[in-house]
């Protein structure tokens, strides 16, 4: 039976109460306790820095050449916090409520409430570190609104909020490296967990430059390796983003929760051809000012500028008058797919909709005219002024669009289409962020805990930093306090030897298969199966087919994969092979989970479960639970259910109309 270890008592005092009673480790003992951290994004870097400051001996690992390159860096729009600086009615409760509702009532209330409680501390901490958030002329912090909410609680640094937050955490991490509290292992990839007497006690890592395998001991291991969106091959994730660390944890007994909950982001640049290697997100903040539309006529091949206003269908404003273009991501994505499938798509592929700034440019231009008290201003001048304002707000995004597509978004509406962006599912963790393996923790996107079936915009950065700065440093003490008598275990221990051998066996298999197909060939095939059958809309027949197709692809992979070069050298193809092998297993589990969940909720849309007007229909009687899957051998899983109890947020059908 899964025990989430949620503290007793009223929701708003659980965390205070926990902090007041959890065990502490004295400073002298902290120096002897070693913690291994996998991944140096917002969650990993913030945890490494904070644990280092507390005096633990930390070893941090990342596969990139520097911890500063983790994919948190690419987050654009912002970070939420219940500061209520705008006096618009925000509060810890509102942020908590919005997050649970936005997640379509599939998240654990206690975790989400804690997230909302510490959200304000994150902003304070980041500002103190020198993160240059956007400010108003009075010198105070600026806020904007984001999809799925009606208050302005999002803090941002132009379209580079993730970069600035990560560099803040990275700086704090490097400071601890200099002080000798953290040892950094960049260009290292974790390839297995080492368990001794049922507890996580270390890892096997490969030095990606020399190809040598290394054994590392730790009293605890933290998986902060991000999400698994690259199962789909095409996603907004970085090329190296992978599920290997989380998957090795799964194979070592950590349950994997809600794997089918993937977020398809509505505003991405559409696919241009078979050569496409990744998709690029255009920040959701664009929906604050941009209007989304398609032609009212099917298969309309006219240029956007030739389609008059009355022949445009602003379908989000039409279907959801209360939230309009600011509906949550899952709703916006499905609405775009619905229009394109019905033949109203635009662009050469017809798999795109317009995101139009013409109205915003004119509106901002007029405001500027008023602000500057100008008279006799021509329409052209208003537009020019409006473009300047839009450039200040979104300039870097517009430049990125222009570079990728070769089109000028100040003149033409942008073409956008949904793409895989974030995974709400991940390693199952209890209130203390501990997986089902004692001493094995998971933080940030790698765990499943806070976003339910759909994540709201600007909440990923919040969760990563909450976990690393303000949650784990407390909860891990509660575990390590009982480990102070555990001396560092020699890496000659048989458990290390055995784990290293199993890693070596897999590498040998890759190097000796000498098949006919590249790793990418298999990755692309897997991605297509997943996108077609386990993407924005899923049904029983498709999912069953997908499971069979993935099984067959896996067999072919192990027979036909070709990995060039040597194992004992810098070999990016070998790295990819290991990651794709894990995706081929995880993809199947995602389909199994999607098949099991015969309801629609958040990003998971089962065609069999929808309302008459095509909205997602939840089934709380049968599916108000976390689906946690236990690995039982290659391709075999057992489902465990953690019932979800809602004391404060009574589930209702989400409505953004």
């Amino acid at each position: 039976m899964l025990n989430a270890k949620i503290p007793a008592g009223p929701l708003n005092s659980k965390w205070e109460d926990y902090k007041g009673h959890c065990k502490l480790v004295n400073p002298a003992n902290k120096r002897n306790l070693e913690v291994i951290i996998i991944g140096t994004g917002l969650a990993g870097a913030s945890a490494a820095a904070s644990l280092g400051e507390l005096g633990y001996k930390v070893k941090a690992f990342c596969f990139q050449d520097s911890p500063r390159r983790a994919h948190s860096i690419a987050a654009q729009g912002g970070i939420n916090a219940a500061k209520n600086y705008q006096n618009d009615g925000d509060s810890v409760f509102r942020l908590f409520y919005d997050t649970v509702k936005g997640g379509d009532y599939r998240a654990r209330e206690a975790n989400v409430h804690r997230l909302a409680e510490v959200s304000g501390n994150i902003i304070d901490q980041c500002v103190a570190q020198g993160v240059p958030f956007a400010r108003e002329y009075g010198g105070l912090l600026s806020n904007r609104s984001f999809g799925g909410t009606q208050v302005q609680r999002t803090f941002y640094a132009a379209g580079q909020t993730g970069q600035q937050l990560l560099l803040g955490a990275y700086s704090a991490l490097e400071r601890q490296v200099a002080l000798g509290n953290v040892k950094m292992y960049s260009r290292h990839e974790m390839l297995d967990i080492v368990k001794i007497d049922g507890k996580a006690r270390g890892i096997i890592a490969r030095d990606l430059v020399t190809g040598e395998l290394e054994r590392h001991f730790g009293h605890a291991v933290l998986i902060c390796s991000g999400g698994y969106g690259n199962v789909f091959y095409l996603s907004t994730n970085a090329m190296g983003s992978n599920a290997t660390a989380a998957w090795k944890a799964t194979k070592n007994g950590a349950y994997f929760a809600n794997p089918c909950f993937t977020q398809i982001h509505p505003t991405c640049i559409p696919v241009s051809g078979d050569h496409q290697s990744k998709l690029t997100l255009m920040s959701e903040s664009l929906r604050n000012d941009g209007r989304i539309w398609v032609p009212k006529k099917q298969n309309d091949t006219r240029k956007a500028s030739d389609i008059p206003e009355e022949e445009r269908d602003y379908y989000l404003e039409r279907r959801y008058p209360a939230f309009g273009n600011l509906v949550p991501r899952d709703v916006a994505s499905r609405a775009a797919k619905e229009r394109c499938d019905a033949g109203f798509g635009v662009g050469t592929s017809r798999q795109a909709v317009y995101l139009d700034f013409a109205a915003a440019i004119e509106r901002y231009g007029s405001i500027e005219v008023g602000k500057r008290q100008l008279t006799n201003v021509s329409k052209e001048d208003i537009i020019k002024l409006g473009k300047e304002v839009v450039a200040e707000k979104y300039g870097n995004l517009f430049d990125m669009y222009a570079k990728i597509t070769g089109e000028n978004p100040y003149e033409l509406p942008m073409r956008i289409y949904p793409a895989v962006h974030y995974t709400m599912g991940g390693l199952w963790v209890d209130y203390e962020l501990n997986t089902t393996v004692p001493g094995l923790y998971s933080l940030g996107e790698a765990n499943f805990s806070d976003h339910g079936a759909n994540r709201l915009g600007a909440s990923a950065l919040m969760q990563g930093l909450a976990d690393g700065y303000f949650v784990l440093p407390y909860t891990i003490g509660n575990y390590l306090a009982d480990e102070i008598r555990t001396k560092a275990i020699s890496t000659d221990h048989p458990a290390f030897v055995e784990a290293e051998k199993s890693v070596q066996d897999i590498i040998n298999k890759f190097m000796t298969t000498k098949g006919t197909r590249s790793v990418d060939y298999f990755h692309k095939k897997l991605g297509k199966i997943m996108w077609d059958k386990c993407g924005m809309a899923r049904n029983e027949k498709g999912l069953k087919e997908a499971i069979e197709e993935i099984k067959a692809l896996r067999v072919e992979f192990w027979k036909e994969v070709r990995v060039p070069g040597e194992a004992k050298e810098f070999n990016p193809e070998l790295e990819k092979a290991g990651r794709v092998a894990d995706f081929l297993e995880l993809g199947e589990l995602m389909c199994m989970d999607a098949l099991n969940r015969r309801e629609s909720c958040g990003g998971h849309f089962r065609e069999e479960s929808q309302t008459e007007d095509g909205e997602a229909k939840r089934d709380d009687d049968n599916f108000s639970y976390v689906a946690a899957w236990e690995y039982k051998g290659y391709g075999q899983y057992e489902l465990h259910k953690e019932p979800l109890v809602f004391e404060e947020c009574k589930p209702t059908q989400r409505s953004y109309k």
């Binding site: 990139q64 103190a128 240059p132 970069q163 490097e174 241009s272 570079k403 070769g406």
Partner: protein, 254 residues
Amino acid sequence: MEHYNMNLTLKVWRQKNKNDQGRFETLQAKDISSEMSFLEMFDVVNEQLINDGKDPVAFDHDCREGICGSCSMHINGRAHGPWDGTTTCQLHMRAFNDGDTITVEPWRAGAFPVIKDLTVDRTAFDRIIEAGGYISVNTGNAQDANCLPVDKNDADLSFAAASCIGCGACVAACKNSSAMLFVSAKVSQLALLPQGHPEKQSRALNMVAQMDKEGFGSCTNTGACEAECPKEISLTNIARLNREFIGAGFSSEK
């Protein structure tokens, strides 16, 4: 936008490891779409090399949206290629024409040794940050964020400096292999903010000392770094670093 396909000749630096002498190898890139990014063109070339039983070209890349700073190719003599303010991953093939020959090298700098082919070791940058590229504030120490108003102009300048992605193009472009633009961007970001003031002297001194220790050259103000920086970090940051450094030299007892 009109699309077209092209055939290209690549002269690519191949080097098995840091001890290998290295040499240029000529490779053909066929049926390349003008819509591809420069790295997607390399994906096509590598797929062909793998199918032919050869070793693919190793290069650093990750986010492919111009923000992680991993990609690092010296293309036709320019860091990140012909487009201003653009990383290699955002450079698209419509910058080239059918029949072009393109020379691709790794960053060239003593402080960035080659790991393999186009991949170099940039950990020297991490060590420079370790030397002082931070504000010493432990988690939990912070006061309310709005207790410390920051002049908007300073905040904007700080942000502009902070947009550095640490790719190393400034070093690759510099005839002296100086890392002054990189160092000055971090020093400026923090010196412009009140939070960064208490440590601003020691920060400038320590980061410059580490830069010298890593073997980066001196700055002679040629401005090649600014011209090639994909994030268009301004040369005025170097002037600010020099002010901070000289000021610290006169007044610091550290």
